[in-house]
């Protein structure tokens, strides 16, 4: 069993108006096999948390720690984090010119495993995973995310999740932009990965819809750079009914 531990994390970004603190003391512990959902209003810092875990250079950690089984994640480069078993399905996956999906997937898999996958089984694995996610075979020869629709990009993120088999996956609004069928297909992909690899999941979402397919063990309410409340799956339903007013209107 592995543990991803975030302790009192403070994160700033540089803006034209100077430094701006976005995360104001986030603490969260996820174990493999667990599913944590994070919900919270726009701009509260959910993607910032996700990107900081992945190591995006735009975010500066001013204090606090992130550790993976005791190892200092903040000391690792972006690629080292991925090789250590962290995976971020991005809210806005990036289009990479000139690189075919096939080539990309194989290169990444090789980097993560430390050895090239066996060609025959690999090709089969990719094909099977693509079929399960209802991704057309033709996508393999297209450039990474280039010209993919919003929903297609999200499916391809989950395709990578299934193929790379991380210990921890952070899904940043993977459900946004998915049609009803795609939501189901993608959720099944996440559940498969979780079962097969005993993966821990941090699921960022605005909607309870996806939580019907991916059952959270914990729900965290994220407000203004902090976790304002935690609970079980029932908290999500309550949020959907009541909104975030309760958290936003606390007198200063």
């Amino acid at each position: 069993m592995s543990t991803l531990e975030i302790k009192d994390l403070h994160v700033s970004i540089e803006t034209e108006q100077g430094n701006k603190e976005i995360l104001k003391g986030v603490s969260l512990t996820i174990k493999t096999g667990e599913t944590h959902a994070i919900m919270g209003p726009n701009g509260s810092g959910k993607s910032t948390l996700a990107s900081t875990i992945a190591g995006h250079p735009r975010y500066t950690v001013t204090s606090g720690t992130i550790t993976l089984d005791g190892e200092d994640v903040l000391e690792m480069s972006v690629d080292e984090r991925a090789r250590a078993g962290l995976f971020l399905a991005m809210q806005y996956p990036v289009e990479v010119p000139g690189v075919s999906m096939t080539n990309f997937l194989r290169t990444a898999k090789t980097a993560i495993d430390g050895e090239a996958p066996k060609l025959r089984t690999w090709t089969k694995d990719v094909k099977t995973a693509m079929e399960a996610l209802k991704i057309d075979a033709e996508f393999a020869s297209r450039n990474v995310n280039e010209g993919f629709s919003g929903g297609e990009k999200k499916r391809v993120e989950i395709l990578q999740l299934e193929l790379f088999k991380p210990k921890f996956a952070i899904l940043d609004e993977t459900d946004s932009g998915l049609d009803v069928d795609a939501l189901k297909v993608v959720s099944e992909g996440v559940n498969r990965a979780q079962e097969q690899n005993e993966m821990g999941t941090l699921l960022i979402t605005h909607y309870t819809r996806i939580l019907r397919y991916i059952k959270p063990d914990f729900v965290h309410v994220f407000v203004d750079g902090k976790i304002a409340e935690q609970g079980g799956a029932e908290l999500a339903d309550r949020l959907e009914e009541e909104g975030y007013d309760r958290f936003l209107n606390v007198p200063a």
């Binding site: 250079p57 972006v78 090789r83 991005m90 990036v94 990479v96 010119p97 690189v99 290169t107 990444a108």
Partner: protein
């Protein structure tokens, strides 16, 4: 991939008629220079040039001066339409001085039945496929002491020859080569440029009826070389001319491939790959002259740039004349800027004088390999070096795989690796 100001709206702006609004808003037609009084424009100019119209004669390729005589071309100022990107100061005098230095030595290998001759410039075959289209080309024509002629015999199939120019002098020199692909021949001609030189060069390609000629021209010079080359092709009835320019060596390279259709049913493919490092100026200006009916042209140039003051220029002039109904033409230029401080100019310029074409389109994109691309790849476990290599190789591969000569493909891949390693990327 972000598009720069040179982007032409609509990735595949395919059109079937000349009167699409906004079509000529970019490109050279709007250049204010060379006004009506231009000595170059004058009467030779057709009344109608697509988009340019009256008043900007020299901006139409139809009106551009061609001549064997150096005197016909006014001395260059650098403000001319076709030299506005070229740093004349770095041309080593190729545009103004007598070119009396020793030309690089030319050696042919791999020939079976192909002949290489050395003849006087007065030989009837010299000038059979082209007329100089700029001052440097005319200067080279006038200065060349002799011409080399390579003839691929009629009906021969499968010849693959390599012509290697090896230079070891920095004295300004001129060279002339004529490649004749006789009727129904099918061949590959590799023209390799190595060593160093200050060279103005004309290469004529006479693609005879039914001939299929593939040319791979490698500008693989050492860092100091200065090279201005005019490739002039005449593509006769049912001829097929495939030209691949590969440029990565030299301080300044200016290559102007020009393909002129001289019969129906011809096909021209112009491919190019360039990789510019810090300080290099690599310029490709191509021209496809659709002057006969039912011909096809396809142009794709891809360039990667890195390092301070790496500068590439790509200008693609495609002219579809009134005499060329049934034309199908597409041109695209794609650049990938890898670091700050590098600059890619890209100007597709399509002029259409007839409405009876099958299709014509152009595209130009300049993308930047930025931190977001890098982050995405690295977040999947790929280290930075590999990520860069993946992107650049992937980007250029589309051209590399057009070459289909394994030795050269391999050499190119090695070169790309070396270029990427050179700046510690």
């Amino acid at each position: 991939m972000t598009d720069t100001a040179t982007h032409v709206s609509g990735e595949k702006a395919r059109i079937g008629a000349p009167s699409i609004a906004g079509f000529t808003e970019e490109g050279e037609n709007l250049s204010p220079m060379n006004a009506a009084a231009s000595p170059i424009g004058g009467d030779a100019v057709k009344a109608h040039s697509h988009g340019g119209g009256a008043g900007v004669p020299d901006s139409s390729r139809a009106g551009r001066l061609t001549s064997y005589k150096l005197e016909d071309f006014a001395p260059l100022t650098g403000r001319e339409e076709d030299f506005r990107f070229t740093p004349l100061k770095r041309m080593g005098g190729l545009h103004k001085n007598a070119l009396t230095g020793a030309a690089p030595v030319l050696v042919m290998t791999g020939a079976k039945a192909v002949a290489l001759e050395t003849v006087a410039m007065s030989d009837a075959r010299v000038g059979s496929a082209g007329v100089p289209e700029d001052r440097i080309s005319a200067n080279a024509w006038n200065s060349a002491a002799e011409a080399k002629i390579v003839t691929i015999p009629a009906e021969s199939i499968g010849e693959q020859v390599t012509l290697t120019y090896t230079g070891d002098s920095t004295e300004a020199a001129a060279a002339h080569l004529v490649v004749i692909a006789e009727e129904n021949s099918e061949s590959v001609v590799v023209i390799d440029h190595v060593g160093t030189a200050v060279l103005a060069q004309n290469i004529e390609f006479d693609v005879r009826e039914g001939a299929k000629l593939t040319v791979i021209s490698l500008q693989a010079w050492e860092d100091t070389a200065i090279h201005a080359a005019s490739h002039l092709a005449k593509v006769r009835k049912d001829g097929h001319f495939k030209h691949i320019a590969v440029t990565y060596g030299g301080d300044l390279v200016r290559l102007t491939p020009s393909a002129h259709f001289a019969g129906e049913g011809g096909e021209v493919e112009l491919f190019g790959l360039y990789f510019a490092d810090a300080g290099q100026h690599l310029e490709h200006r191509l021209f496809v002259d659709h002057a006969t009916p039912h011909c096809t042209s396809n142009v794709l140039y891809k360039g990667a740039l890195q390092g301070k003051d790496a500068h590439t220029v790509w200008v693609g002039d495609v002219l579809i004349r009134k005499e060329a109904p049934g034309t199908n033409s597409y041109e695209a230029n794609r650049n990938l800027v890898l670091t700050e401080g590098a600059r890619a100019d890209s100007v597709p310029n399509l002029e259409i004088e007839t409405g009876l074409i099958d299709g014509a389109g152009h595209a130009s994109t300049t993308g930047r390999f930025d931190d977001e691309h890098l982050f995405y790849l690295m977040s999947r476990g790929i280290d930075e070096k590999t990520a860069r290599r993946l992107v650049v190789r992937g980007f250029l591969n589309e051209i590399v795989q057009q070459i289909r000569v394994p030795e050269i493909e391999e050499r190119l891949n090695e070169t790309i690796e070396r270029e990427l390693a050179a700046t510690g990327n």
